[in-house]
Amino acid sequence: MVVIAFPSTSEKTISRSSLRAIFGMRLSKWPADTPVKVFVMKDDAPEHNAFSKILLQVFPHQLRLAWDRQVFSGQGQYPEQVASTQEMLFKIASIPGAIGYIKSSEVTKNVRILQIR
């Protein structure tokens, strides 16, 4: 699994703590001040499971609970859910500020890979 972002994103690397804050729906801006737009797959998708556990190092059910707590107290919003790898690639390639994840083997030239530092 790799983290992918909109191709002209200023960043090439990202820290795990920022990644957790972004996917925890707490950090909503890139350092260059552009809004972050988070895309995820369904909770039970194998890609989501692998991304959560290996890259974020957060259990997927903990991530869901963190979103629920924020949404139902008025403090945050849910990330946008995509149905397929193709949709993930399309969104990340076309929406400025977009961030998501994908299997390494399915990366295309239209998205930027963010290395975790």
Binding site: S17, R26, L27, S28, D68, S73, G74, Q75, Y78
Partner: protein
């Protein structure tokens, strides 16, 4: 209850259901003038039956359905730094809450500064109180560990005091390599003017109203290793004045209380352990001869384990204890002074429960409580203390739908 009132109640309920259905028919996220508008909600229905005593309605040897939670909320982010959110809640809980729809929260959240190391901001309006691990979403069944939150700390009885406050909340997040620190400081007025809040504090007989001063709350949570462990501390300073009613048994007194809660949680992939400990000293002054000046040291704690058998099934076991007065744990001194049962001054609750997530939107739960003491039972559902029974059992079922 007169016929027209019954009709009005039914009409109000149908109206709420209509709004709910309408809400579900909108998509989860809409584009609203170029910004994302998210609409969500939940509908929870519980059934409660007890061997003795009443909880959440007339449950004594009967099945009570007077436990219902219905909420809808909307949020909009006009810029990446600002979120406007509104939540409406109808909470039916026996005689303590009639289910009237009210503003649960309504706030504007402005992130003043943010970087990859953290963020800081302010929430203004009606804000959910940052109290312990569960209070902010205490009425959302999906975010609770059980049907009933541990009553030693998240009382149904006194929920109006702690649920939300009108004012401001400052927040500061720090994101470190090893974990994250979340600090929240809130200053607001709790919703304390209601009859239920008055009864919770001083009982049924006095007929006055409480008025609260600004209540500060400090909440600090450290989440280590992506949330594998969470350590928390909360301090709340409640300061209220009592305005007596006509020919009241109490005079214009003052009630103050500083609650401190220590929270700890460990989350493994398939199991979680959670414990919270609270100190609740309550001081009453100048209420007159019927309530002499005093300080009562309340104490509460629970330990809870949950195990995820499969992604859809979760089992829970908890021991939950509260003492109204830790210097009179068994209530003997209280019983001698008041001729009311000493066991109404504590409760020790063993809970076993199961959760089944049928789909991500639909959850079913069952729960059994074996309780010694009636300390957390609301007076409104049990007005006659001579009918209370010390050792009682409770069985609960719950279904919750969300979108």
């Amino acid at each position: 209850m007169c016929v027209s009132f019954k009709f009005a109640k039914a009409a109000a309920w149908i109206f709420i259901q209509g709004v709910f259905l309408l809400w579900t028919s909108f998509a989860h996220a809409e584009n609203f003038m170029g910004n994302e508008l998210q609409l969500h909600g939940f509908l929870t229905q519980g059934v409660v039956t007890t061997s003795d005593n009443n909880f959440l309605g007339q449950s004594n040897k009967k099945a009570s359905t007077d436990f219902r939670e219905l909420g809808v909320n909307a949020s909009l982010r006009p810029t990446s730094d600002v979120q406007v959110s509104v939540g409406i809640l109808s909470h039916k809980a026996g005689k303590t809450d009639n289910g009237q729809a009210r503003l649960d929260y309504g706030l504007i959240d402005w992130t003043v500064s943010s970087s990859e190391r953290g963020r800081g901001g302010i929430r203004l309006g009606r804000v959910k109180n940052p109290y312990g691990l569960y209070n902010k979403t205490r009425d959302v069944a999906f975010t609770r560990p059980s049907i009933l939150l541990p009553q030693s700390i998240y009382f149904e009885r006194t929920r109006n005091l702690t649920v939300a406050a009108d004012g401001a909340e400052l927040y500061l997040d720090r994101y470190y390599e090893d974990g994250s620190l979340f600090v929240t400081f809130a200053l607001g007025k709790p919703q304390i003017g209601s009859e239920a809040a008055k009864v919770a504090l001083i009982g049924l007989t006095p007929n006055g109203r409480f008025e609260s001063n600004l209540t500060p709350i400090l909440n600090v949570i450290y989440e280590g290793d992506g949330g594998k462990y969470r350590l928390g501390f909360t301090a709340v300073k409640i300061d209220t004045n009592y305005n007596p009613g006509a020919r009241d048994v109490l005079q214009a007194g003052r009630l103050t209380s500083t609650h401190k809660i220590f929270s700890a949680q460990y989350n493994a992939e398939h199991w979680s352990l959670t414990s919270e400990y609270a100190l609740r000293p309550i001081t009453v002054q100048r209420f007159g001869p019927n309530a002499p000046d005093s300080t009562t040291h309340g104490q509460s704690y629970y330990a809870q384990g949950s195990y995820r058998l499969t992604p859809k099934w979760e089992a829970l076991l908890r021991y939950d204890v509260m003492f109204t007065d830790k210097d009179d744990r068994d209530g003997k001194a209280f019983a001698a002074a008041t001729h009311r049962p000493g066991f109404s001054r504590f409760s020790k609750d063993w809970t076993a429960g199961m959760r089944f997530d049928v789909t991500p939107q639909l959850m079913l739960r069952a729960e059994y409580h074996r309780v010694n003491g009636t300390g957390y039972l609301p007076i409104q559902d049990n007005p006659n203390s001579s009918t209370l029974v010390q050792r009682w059992d409770m069985f609960m079922l719950l279904a919750s739908f969300r979108f």
